[in-house]
């Protein structure tokens, strides 16, 4: 005998042995009303009793309700009719019967004896009938015909709202009073009109008045859940199912539900689920609104690219239509590779493929395509550039010159392509020029900017660079054309005036050396007219004095010197200026010697902050061109500065001194002056930065980490609040300094662990014999040595171990 037959045989054996009441009860408990009814009929036919009748009625009503729920109205009516023919006696059935008959449109068949309801029950039934009259007017009991007219008004109002005819809707609702059974429906229709008009307050004002147990509230709940994700999130399954049905009908697909899943999957970084969901919904979404589809693609692409998730992006690209700007996804892949921490794929490969894609992109015009290709070539140039930088900094000890040269060539080729395709793209030129400057090839940098000027004659960067380039070579007349054009473009800019004044001053020197002293005077007069020499007027007067000396007009020269002395509280800086100008203007050495002697004598006097500042500016400014001639004066100036121990410094003077010392790489003296600056001018970010940098310059392992960190952080805090443009550059450098410090473990720790490893080799103790006490002792020693906290040390250790493993 098979197993199914065995089961049936066991079941029928158990039924044969069970009492009829138990059989029916069991079916009712399982909600198998069909079987319950069948068994109850058999039982009542065979052995009619009060119990059998009771259960027969219960089975009838259960079955009828079940059929109604399943939409089998005719069958439900037939069972209900059978029940009515039985004459209902069971209390629970009597209670449920009116509701059932109302739903089936058989309310008028309700037995008279069953209609002795309480007032509350009657009201409930009237409300129920009102709702039914709107929803299924054909089921309105004839005994409640008065409901039909108002229900039809509600329906008419709903249809008017559907047509966006709000005035017609209002007209239909006008006669429905606040106390009417249809008042809820009135609020619902008004709320629905507000819903369609995106009037949230209007919608809420009406729908918040709905009775939650009635039909209008149920419909409103579905609409809210469909448009408010917070409502849907807490909805039960029945409501969610209605929302899906609504979506299917209105949007031709359950797009909203899918997109809610997508949003959740993305927020949880569950990309496989997100991809699956998007794949399921993308066609429907494209049909509903192509623009929203594209935005969604952009959004998801952006997230994947930003996270550097190349693999998921690759999978995404297989089934999603690409954006017009990126027809084969090469651009997105290139950026994803760049963003990826692991850099498994080479972004250059994808950028080069993208160059080919750009030939045919329809959303760009032909000139735009060319420009775009130029921009991509510039991007490609950055890779070998970064490689060169990395190789130059490499401390592995190997010779990387061949690789560096190869990368430089690649970068130059890429830059050339960028210049060819995007000839006015300034960043390409300035980056290429910076590369040449970094490689100590200023002439090549100047050539690059000259090329830029051919295509962009008003490029401020190019004009400024070329002006400064020629000035640094003492070629004031060559610099003049660029500085003058720069000033024409930026007439109010202080920097443009200074640059032009410097060109005139330098041109004056050139003319003087060519014995064209009249023209030299005129140049100096032009420089003076620009009004930038108010602060260092003595320097201009020194130049005039020297020119007069060259012309043999000693009285005039002496007058200029006297005028210059009037502008200063003491003349130390003036003598240095005269000395420098004598050298620059190639006066006889005897003249220069006079000024040198006076200067050295003045240096022995009491130190003065303003004099120190001025002298530093002079030396720093003129050393660019006259390094050889002026370098012998540097030790004397440094000695003077070392003596400036009790000076109360003006801010600008101290900044000039620090600048000068920084140029000379005099770190220990710079550190002292920077410390002075932090005490005398604590709100100036530069001094804190210099103090931190000077400490860091001792080496990241040797420096006092706490002191360095504190100084750099203070400089950042001050720079963020500052309006001085110099502080912007400082901000970036300070942050880099902090990052460097954070990336390196304390020296003591490195050394100690090195000792442990070394001692392990010859030590009979096992690694595991190093106890917690040993560790604690080592950490304490390191903290004391380098000024770090135990937490900082442990963090570094953790990072170091992470790198190792």
């Amino acid at each position: 005998m098979g197993s199914k037959t065995k089961k049936r045989s066991r079941a029928s054996k158990s039924r044969r042995n069970a009492l009829p009441i138990d059989i029916v009860k069991r079916s009712l408990e399982r909600a198998d009303f069909k079987q319950a009814l069948k068994d109850a009929r058999v039982w009542h036919r065979q052995t009619p009793s009060a119990d059998s009748r009771s259960f027969l009625e219960i089975s009838h009503i259960g079955r009828a309700e079940q059929l109604l729920k399943n939409g089998q109205l005719d069958d439900a009516r037939r069972i209900a009719q059978e029940l009515l023919d039985l004459d209902v006696t069971e209390a629970s059935v009597q209670e449920a019967l009116p509701e059932l008959l109302l739903s089936l449109g058989l309310f008028d068949r309700l037995p008279k004896e069953a209609s002795s309801f309480s007032e509350a029950e009657q009201q409930r039934l009237r409300i129920r009938a009102a709702d039914q009259a709107v929803v299924q007017p054909e089921h309105t009991p004839s005994s409640m015909a008065e409901l039909r007219d108002e229900a039809l008004k509600i329906r008419a109002a709903l249809e008017a709202v559907e047509r966006s005819d709000h005035s017609a809707a209002a007209k239909h609702l006008r006669d429905i009073s606040r106390h009417s059974l249809f008042a809820d429906w009135k609020f619902f229709v008004r709320g629905l009109a507000a819903f369609y008009q995106h009037d949230a307050s209007g919608m809420e004002a009406n729908w918040s008045r709905l009775d939650p147990s009635r039909a209008p509230a149920g419909i409103a709940q579905v609409l809210k859940a469909a448009t408010q994700p917070s409502s849907l999130a807490v909805a039960d399954e029945k409501l969610k199912s209605k929302v899906r049905r609504l979506e299917s009908q209105v949007l031709s697909g359950t797009v909203l539900t899918h997109l809610t899943h997508l949003q959740q999957a993305v927020s949880e970084q569950d990309w496989p689920s997100a991809m699956k969901t998007f794949r399921a919904v993308q066609r429907s979404l494209r049909e509903i609104d192509g623009n929203i589809y594209q935005r969604l693609v952009r959004c998801l692409t952006g997230k994947l690219v930003h996270e550097g998730d190349f693999d998921t992006l690759n999978k995404f690209a297989r089934f999603v239509e690409p954006l017009p700007i990126d027809p084969h996804w090469n651009r997105a892949k290139a950026i994803a590779c760049e963003q990826s921490e692991f850099f498994e794929e080479d972004p250059e490969v994808f950028w080069k493929k993208y160059l080919d894609d750009l030939e045919d992109i329809s959303t760009l015009t032909p000139p735009q395509r060319k420009l775009a290709q130029g921009l991509v070539w510039f991007r490609l140039a950055e890779f070998p550039m970064k490689e060169v930088l990395g190789l130059r900094r490499c401390s592995c000890g190997k010779d990387h010159s061949a690789e560096i040269e190869a990368n430089k060539e690649d970068a130059e080729l890429a830059f050339e392509k960028a210049f060819e395709l995007a000839p006015t793209y300034e960043p390409a030129y300035s980056t290429a020029a910076k590369c040449h400057l970094a490689a100590n090839r200023p002439e090549r940098a100047a050539e690059i900017y000259l090329r830029l000027l051919q295509h962009a004659p008003d490029s401020l960067d190019a004009l400024e660079f070329l002006a400064q380039h020629h000035l640094s070579r003492g070629e004031g007349r060559k610099a003049f054309a660029y500085a003058n054009r720069y000033r024409e473009l930026k007439p109010l800019d202080q920097h443009s005036r200074k640059m032009l004044a410097t060109c005139h001053a330098e041109a004056a020197r050139e003319f003087a050396l060519a014995s064209n002293l009249d023209q030299a005077h005129r140049e100096l007069a032009s420089a003076e007219k620009l009004g930038v020499f108010q602060v260092n007027r003595f320097n201009l007067l020194a130049q005039k004095a020297v020119i007069e000396t060259k012309a043999g007009k000693l009285d005039a020269a002496r007058q200029h010197i006297a005028d210059a002395q009037e502008t200063l509280d003491e003349a130390t800086a003036l003598w240095l200026s005269l000395l420098i100008q004598s050298i620059r203007y190639e006066l006889p050495w005897s003249e220069a010697t006079i000024y040198e002697e006076r200067w050295r004598k003045a240096l022995k006097r009491r130190c003065n902050g303003s004099a120190a500042g001025r002298m530093c500016v002079l030396m720093q400014g003129y050393s660019v061109l006259h390094a050889n001639e002026l370098s012998r004066f540097t030790p004397d100036l440094l000695a003077y500065l070392r003596r400036c121990t009790r000076v109360k410094w003006q801010l600008e003077d101290l900044l000039h001194v620090c600048d000068f010392l920084g140029d000379l790489d005099e770190q220990s003296l710079l550190a002292k002056f920077a410390d002075k600056g932090t005490r005398q001018h604590p709100q100036c970010a530069t001094f804190h930065f210099l103090a931190g940098s000077a400490e860091l310059a001792r080496g990241p392992l040797k420096c006092n980490r706490r002191k360095t960190k504190k100084a750099l952080q203070r400089s950042i805090d001050l720079a963020l609040k500052s309006t001085d443009s110099r502080d912007e550059e400082l901000l970036e450098m300070a942050r880099s300094g902090l990052e460097l410090l954070e990336s390196i473990p304390p020296a003591g720790l490195v050394r100690r662990f090195g000792e442990m490893e070394n001692s392990n080799a010859g030590d009979s103790r096992d690694e595991d014999d190093f106890t917690i006490d040993d560790m604690q002792r080592i950490i304490q020693e390191v903290c004391a040595e380098v000024g770090a906290t135990p937490e900082e040390v442990l963090e570094m250790l953790e990072r170091k171990m992470g790198e190792q493993f």
Partner: protein
């Protein structure tokens, strides 16, 4: 700087007249004397997009439109809200 398209609330294929119109609307809403930071942000975004080279740079090299999924979904829901639902369908949701 965050996405200039998002700051100005314009699509990536916005044309010059629409861009300018939107910029002027925002400047009226956030004038420099009342909202200096916002104004500066709007100005920078506008300068970026009106300059064809900078705009092309944005299109090529910036991470795509950083619109949130929530914003896009919100718009789609808003679309659903605008569509008129047939009365019979609406009433079919009445069973509680």
């Amino acid at each position: 700087m965050t996405d200039p398209y998002q700051i100005l609330g314009v699509p990536v294929d916005v044309d010059e007249p629409s861009l300018r119109r939107r910029y002027l609307e925002l400047v009226r809403e956030f004038p420099p004397e009342q909202a200096p930071e916002r104004f500066a942000e709007i100005r920078e975004a506008y300068e970026r997009l009106r300059n064809p080279v900078r705009r092309l740079e944005s299109q090529l090299f910036e991470i795509e439109h950083k619109e949130s999924l929530a914003d896009i979904l919100g718009e789609l829901r808003s679309q659903v809200q605008s569509r008129r639902i047939p009365t019979d369908l609406l009433l079919s949701f009445a069973d509680r």
